[in-house]
Symmetry: C2
Subunit: 232 residues, 2 copies
DNA sequence: ATTGCCGGATTGTTCAACAATCCTTACGTT
DNA sequence: AACGTAAGGATTGTTGAACAATCCGGCAAT
């Protein structure tokens, strides 16, 4: 690689930062992040007046932002009642797992032809989870776990799969916020993550996929057990 | 079931029809349908002024409708240049198939525990395709084919999978509009649909999934071959 | 306890206005 | 002729005001 190509390559890495965004898109990003990290809890009604004043945008712009978020399943629009942060039902949780299984297992099965970097990403996410656990940052463990699972599906190398996974994993965040304390929902899976990553690295893709199915069944059952209590 | 519960049950079947929709949502539906059925071809710029006048809504309402459609991948918003009907690239087409494979094959593999009605739906869609072909309605054959594939993934019984499939199949419509004459892209697959449905009905789920993979590979290759010519 | 009515608050939509941006055209320079 | 620059026009992005439509809560009557 020549010296010119090197700095030009570094320049092009900055290209995403040049993409201007409309105010509506920026507002949507702020709201999305606030929902995902929990400061807007499930059930919260997002008053146009309140949010519009808080963020300093007009009602029309805010409404555009709400519409941008409509399909993400994090907010739900109720006609003439406003916009609400979604409360996930137990059926929603089950449905999320029903979608994750084919995509994540297909990712593992396709790993033989995935780029090495995508495989490395899986191992990296396992390490992130370990590091967060050692630091006692259980929210961070949950985040790393989500990223680990996103990385499994990303082995398919499909932008649409990645987006669909990001969407359901963000939704699952709502479920975790609803059950409260993150530690019991993430800590038990750290070893499972490592086992799956190890099988992946050894080229045992079917074994890894089988292991993942058992893992997902257990994670789902655990979450649903607590969810049923919390919904009562 | 008591007589009261029976008529109450019949009433609740009408509940979806009672759901009011905002003007923005109605406009989004009209635009979506116009894109999917081809009257707004790929590359078309949707002028706020023109569309707003044509549909008799204000610019703000129309902008809300555009934002509603943003995530559906049928329209693409370009900052300060407006809203355009997507032109799919060959890479988009490949990505769509990359997402369909895990979902459709997982549907077939899960068919043993799917409701009988979902399995019947698959056969029904095959018959629709046959009937449309006999009537020489090749656009209708394409529609039935899309529905057939949606029904395969729907064997998973997941709302989220159904929505994701509806989205990528709608996108694929754009590709078919770009290549023109529908007949060569749908007619050759009628027999394949019937074969897959027959294997499904016989409980040979793995065989059906294998057959489907070969079919999807062939369909993708055919579409991409023509797509490369058309993009030149 | 249930039902009906009213008022207030909020959402849904329209309109007008202005700032920001892009594209096209025209003009000047090389 | 080709290129660069500036200006103008058209359109998009945003704001704010206004009004219609809708919902919810409170109160009164049955």
């Amino acid at each position: 690689m020549t010296a010119t190509a090197e700095w030009a390559s570094r320049l092009s890495a900055a290209r995403p930062a040049l993409e201007r965004a409309s105010t509506a898109e920026l507002v949507a990003g702020v709201l999305r992040e606030s929902v995902i990290e929990g400061s807007l809890p499930p059930g919260t009604r997002l008053s146009e007046e309140v949010i519009g004043q808080a963020l300093g945008v007009s009602r029309n712009t805010l409404r555009e932002a709400f519409r941008l978020l409509s399909h993400e399943n994090l907010l739900v629009h109720e006609f003439h009642r406003g916009m609400f942060v979604r409360r996930l039902t137990a059926a929603d949780v089950a449905d999320i797992y029903r979608m994750r299984r084919p995509l994540e297992t297909a990712g593992l099965r396709a790993a033989g032809s995935a780029p090495a970097e995508a495989v490395r990403e899986v191992a990296r996410r396992v390490e992130e989870g370990r590091a967060a656990a050692e630091a006692g940052d259980w929210g961070g463990v949950g985040t790393a776990n989500m990223r680990f699972h996103g990385a499994l599906a990303a082995l398919l190398g499909s932008r649409r799969v990645d987006e669909a996974m990001a969407r359901v994993l963000a939704e699952l965040r709502l479920a975790f916020h609803a059950v409260g304390e993150p530690r019991p929902f993430h800590e038990p899976y750290l070893d499972g993550n490592a086992r799956i990553a190890a099988l992946l690295a050894e080229g045992k893709y079917e074994r890894a996929a089988d292991e993942l199915l058992a893992y997902l069944d257990a994670a789902e059952a655990q979450l649903l057990a607590t969810y049923d209590e919390r919904s009562a």
